[in-house]
């Protein structure tokens, strides 16, 4: 018997099961998948200003919302649902079976990936139809987009699993996790143009992945010359990749070492 294929096979099955459970909880579907679209609708309708020649705030905002989507479906969703699974005894039961931890993580990653694809597609379609979002035409932008999504969601997934040890119980998880995400969104240039934020806020945000993801997404969806409007006067693509990789590795180590199966 090949242990690795078995782990992968069970991981895929778990992904399917996770998705099935997720889709049956209407509140979580609405909250996780549609909420960013609703936000886009509100912000896009209210703020119609042009922030640079040929760039409207709603275009700026879509780029930020796609980046935040990665944080919503990964970090936020996992850091809230895993403590609930711990409360419900799901994790304890799984630990008593031959299923390997890796399969559990693979299942979660799969769930996040699918949710993220759904959400990103929705935002792209909605942003293009209603708020004049321009789809990039050059392949290099799409390549950047692809690795940003993959690296960003991987990062978001492991950090969500890692952060799941923080909430004391499932009921309180949302109250611990959601404010962190909202504050990061404010600080990272999702709801406001990043350069208009105070310097200390910018520097604080630069520690965390979301700022780099939003900036990366802007490099994909905004005109190339908008780069001069950024703090560093360019897109800092290499630095973005580096920051995300560092968080990914730290998150992975922490998630594997500190993951809690039950509330002891």
């Amino acid at each position: 018997m090949n242990g690795l294929t078995e782990t992968l096979r069970i991981g895929l099955l778990r992904g399917g099961l996770e998705l099935k459970q997720f889709m049956r909880q209407r509140e979580s579907v609405v909250f996780t998948i549609f909420f960013p679209v609703i936000l886009l609708f509100i912000f896009g309708t209210v703020f119609k200003d042009t922030i640079a020649p040929g760039v409207t705030f709603s275009q700026y905002f879509v780029a930020g919302m796609i980046a935040s989507g990665l944080v919503n479906t990964g970090f936020q969703q996992l850091a809230i649902t895993i403590p609930m699974e711990r409360d419900f005894g799901t994790l304890k039961r799984l630990r008593g079976t031959p299923m390997s931890v890796a399969s559990y993580f693979i299942g979660k990653a799969l769930l996040v990936t699918i949710l993220m694809i759904l959400q990103t597609a929705l935002l792209l379609v909605f942003g293009t139809l209603m708020f004049g979002l321009n789809m990039p035409t050059n392949p290099s932008s799409w390549i950047t987009f692809t690795w940003l999504v993959i690296l960003g969601s991987a990062c978001s997934t492991v950090l969500g699993i890692a952060f799941s040890v923080v909430p004391k119980n499932g009921r309180g998880a949302s109250a611990v996790v959601s404010p962190i995400v909202i504050i990061l969104q404010f600080f990272s240039g999702v709801f406001f143009v990043f350069t208009s934020l105070p310097t200390w806020m910018q520097q604080f945000a630069a520690i965390f992945p979301l700022k780099w993801l939003t900036q990366g997404m802007r490099s994909v969806f905004l005109p190339a010359d908008f780069a001069t409007q950024e703090v560093a006067k360019n897109w800092e693509i290499g630095k973005t990749a580096l920051v995300l990789v560092i968080w990914l590795v730290l998150g992975l180590i922490f998630a594997v070492k500190k993951f809690k199966w039950s509330q002891e």
Binding site: L17, R24, K92, R93, M99
Partner: protein
Amino acid sequence: MSQSPAIEISGLVKNYGAKAALAGIDLTVERGEIFALLGPNGAGKTTTVEILEGYRKASSGRVSVLGFDPATKGSAAQKWRNQIGIVLQSTNDSADLSVIETISHFANYYEKPRDVQQVIDEVGLREKVNAKARELSGGQRRRLDVALGIIGSPQLLFLDEPTTGFDPEARRSFWELVRTLQSEGTTILLTTHYLDEAQALADRVAVINDGKIIEIATPDTLGGRNNAPAKVLWLENGSTQELFSNNPTEEVMKLSKRFDGQIPELQVLRPNLEEIYLRMIGELK
């Protein structure tokens, strides 16, 4: 190695800080046995069972479950988990999945799963096969837990307070299920608060209190129950008379002679398991 006892514990100690939850447990469960662990809350039942299940680590002592140390990690532990089944205390997971979805999914985890349909029949969930877990009654929910515990055809099954919240009828049919599992060769370690359950199911019981085993015996001989004086009750002169005797048969014969055959409202009572148990854990003097 398949001939090692199902469970072997010697000198098992578990400390939480300075407090000893288990102060040296010795215990052997043979293969094919139904073994019940009795004890008040906080006596160390759950700690013992969770060490055997691999959820907690012993502070010291030797523990062997199916010839394997449950504290071991890695792929050997995964192989070992293929041979055990765990039914935890009340759970509340997979609420949005149906009975068949959950059981079929868990079957994938095991090398030699049982037939899903057969398990559904065995636990009596045939009529609820498409119901979501959230729609099940307490007893049905517990049956689902048991189904997930036995789907991997375990050699050893842990049942932690399996019938809490059952009505008497559900409890009796659950006992039937446990007996069926035993007849198929499954060893069962049961913890329960119900003495009648231990009496009905267990081949042997261990009474644990303050982290120590007080006694291990069959339900009929625990605490010298078989040798304890029996209480003989009968009706005479309009009121119930009673006497205690080590030889109740003789007393009954004497009475029978006195009443010329039929003794009015005769009862001969051995102390029941509950009385013996309560006396052992110091609740009853």
